[in-house]
């Protein structure tokens, strides 16, 4: 067959599109207004591709269980975990974290676990919601 790709292209026309239209089908005329509507519940965004069970997303830190043993700092490959001397707790910079969840495995009281939130983008890399306290 001269062009074996032609049959693919034609058969693709009658199939359901493979795209998962994430925030919305096309650009809203004003994104800020669209995001306010979504916040207020008037508009609905199409959800992203759902994450599997133990997906490695934004890290969650259970402050009470932490005993300040600093094992996670010893094992973190990106120096993303800072130790706070006075209250014997840790502070994790998400801008440095490489989401390897090695700290979860080493933590004796397993107070660290990986959430599944992954839409993390911000204008300032050390902003409040990018530091897990």
């Amino acid at each position: 067959m001269r062009f074996s790709m032609l049959s693919q292209v034609f058969s693709q026309m009658f199939k359901k599109p493979f795209t998962n239209k994430f925030p919305a089908k096309y650009i809203p005329s004003s994104t800020t207004k669209f995001l306010e509507d979504v916040g207020a519940g008037r508009a609905k965004t199409i959800p992203p591709v759902e994450t599997p069970p133990n997906f490695r997303g934004k890290i969650q830190y259970d402050k009470e269980k932490c005993i300040g043993c600093k094992l996670c700092i010893k094992v973190c490959p990106t120096e993303a975990i800072e130790y706070k001397e006075k209250e014997k707790k840790i502070k994790i910079y998400l801008a440095r974290c490489c989401f390897c969840s090695q700290c979860n495995d080493v933590c004796p009281t397993n107070c660290l676990s990986m959430g599944n939130e992954f839409l993390l983008a911000d204008t300032d890399k050390y902003s409040k919601d990018l530091i897990v306290e």
């Binding site: 790709m5 010893k74 080493v106």
Partner: protein, 410 residues
């Protein structure tokens, strides 16, 4: 300057290091005689992030994640070869179930990497619809990787002495379903890549690497197998559980009966390897023994044993692009004393010289991409002429390549 004295000189054509759409920066320097390439000179190092030096200042557990970011596409082979080297240096035994789990991850990554490469090769010739078709199939492989390891690209599943996550019984249906999806689409891919007239014209007889050159330049991976050399670490020196599975070397004569070491043969070898990987994963799934998945679950204890370990070890593994080689020397303190990494493209750079010599400029993208280099680049071309200097960027170079396809089609 009297006319007789002027001999025909060649132009020096520097292909700038900067960053095409996909590949990493490496700088070529071509000697061009008219349209033909006379000589090739490559300067690397634009992505030299001093990983080996940094590895000597961190403990082996942290080095695993440093090794994982050496190359994003084969991000499983480097930490695994590093883990093999450390296990052999420190004398750590790996349970059998972990060997099988490691094989499954290795073959799944080979499928992802070869599909990625096939899409890029099609894009280089100007076949964007095939790129979208191939990457649409690859999304399924990424979903499976995310399901098994938690992240689409950086798998973070290697641990010194075993594997970090198990594949339980209720994960098997998802794996079998994805493998069947690949099997149905494999015939479609083979038909598109191997029977298409355009692919044949642009890749047959182009960028030939003779068997003798490949052996002398110590090339490795699909590039050498496409030249007919049986060199595959999974079979020569079987690590993990490759010794128990039955499969054979993949060379082009398995499908077409003859070997001529050009770009077309490299496409054949890679597609056959995808087919082989699917069978290997299924063999592993039903032969997997029971048992624990890592020899030392408590990381603190593992760090202590590694701290006291002394000795040197090498880890060799067959990555999608060729043989990955790690050498580690531990001498009894926390950080390894020496860590040498050799990515497969390291030894596939010299074969570019015989391949590209005598080719046209328009063939540079497809020939350079045919060895599936982890760092090749054809973005900015500045043709230095005696009087005028003009720039061809990837857009024009790509258009040049697409035009050649159309010219051949007439």
């Amino acid at each position: 300057m009297n006319p007789e004295a002027t001999t025909k000189t060649t132009y020096r054509l520097p292909i700038g290091p900067i960053h095409p759409a996909l590949k990493e920066p490496v700088a070529f320097e071509f000697e061009i005689d008219g349209e033909r390439i006379v000589d090739v000179d490559v300067s690397l190092g634009h992505i030299h992030r001093s990983i080996e030096w940094a590895g000597m200042r961190r403990n082996p557990i942290q080095n695993l994640y440093l090794a994982e970011r050496i190359c994003g596409i084969c991000s499983y082979c480097h930490p695994m070869a590093f883990a093999l080297a450390v296990e052999r240096a420190a004398g750590i035994e790996v349970p059998e179930r972990a060997d099988y789990l490691r094989v499954i991850q290795a073959e799944l990554e080979r499928i992802c990497s070869h599909l990625l490469w096939a899409g890029v090769a099609a894009h280089e010739i100007g076949f964007d619809s095939v790129l979208f078709l191939t990457w649409q199939i690859r999304e399924k492989a990424l979903d499976l990787t995310e399901y098994l390891t938690g992240n689409r690209v950086t798998k973070a599943i290697t641990m010194i002495g075993g594997v970090r996550r198990d594949i339980t019984k209720d994960m098997h249906p998802m794996i079998h379903e994805t493998m069947n999806y690949f099997k149905d689409n494999f015939e479609k891919l083979r038909h598109v890549y191997l029977d298409d007239k355009t692919f044949k014209m642009r890749s047959q007889g182009v960028g030939i690497l003779t068997k003798e050159d490949a052996l002398k330049l110590c090339a490795c991976g699909p590039t050498t197998r496409a030249s007919g050399i049986k060199k595959d670490v999974r079979l020569d020196q079987p690590y993990f559980a490759f010794g128990d599975l039955d499969f054979d070397y993949v060379t082009p004569d398995v499908l077409t009966g003859e070997v001529n070491g050009d770009v077309y043969d490299r496409i054949i070898v890679r597609l056959l390897e995808v087919k082989q990987s699917i069978e290997l994963i299924e063999q592993c799934l039903d032969q997997m023994p029971k048992g624990d998945i890592v020899s030392e679950p408590k990381i603190a204890k593992l760090l202590a044993t590694l701290k006291k370990a002394k000795g040197e070890g090498i880890g060799r593994m067959e990555a999608p692009r060729g043989e990955v080689f790690h050498y580690v020397k531990l001498d009894g303190n926390e950080y390894p004393y020496c860590w040498k990494v050799r990515a497969p493209t390291y030894s596939n750079i010299l074969p570019w010289m015989p391949m590209l010599r005598g080719e046209q400029i328009a063939d540079i993208p497809i020939v350079a991409a045919s060895t599936d280099p982890c760092m090749s680049c054809t973005n900015r071309v500045a043709i230095v002429d005696t009087d005028k200097k003009y720039e061809l960027n990837k857009e024009e170079l790509h258009r040049l390549s697409v035009e050649k396809t159309r010219r051949l089609m007439k």
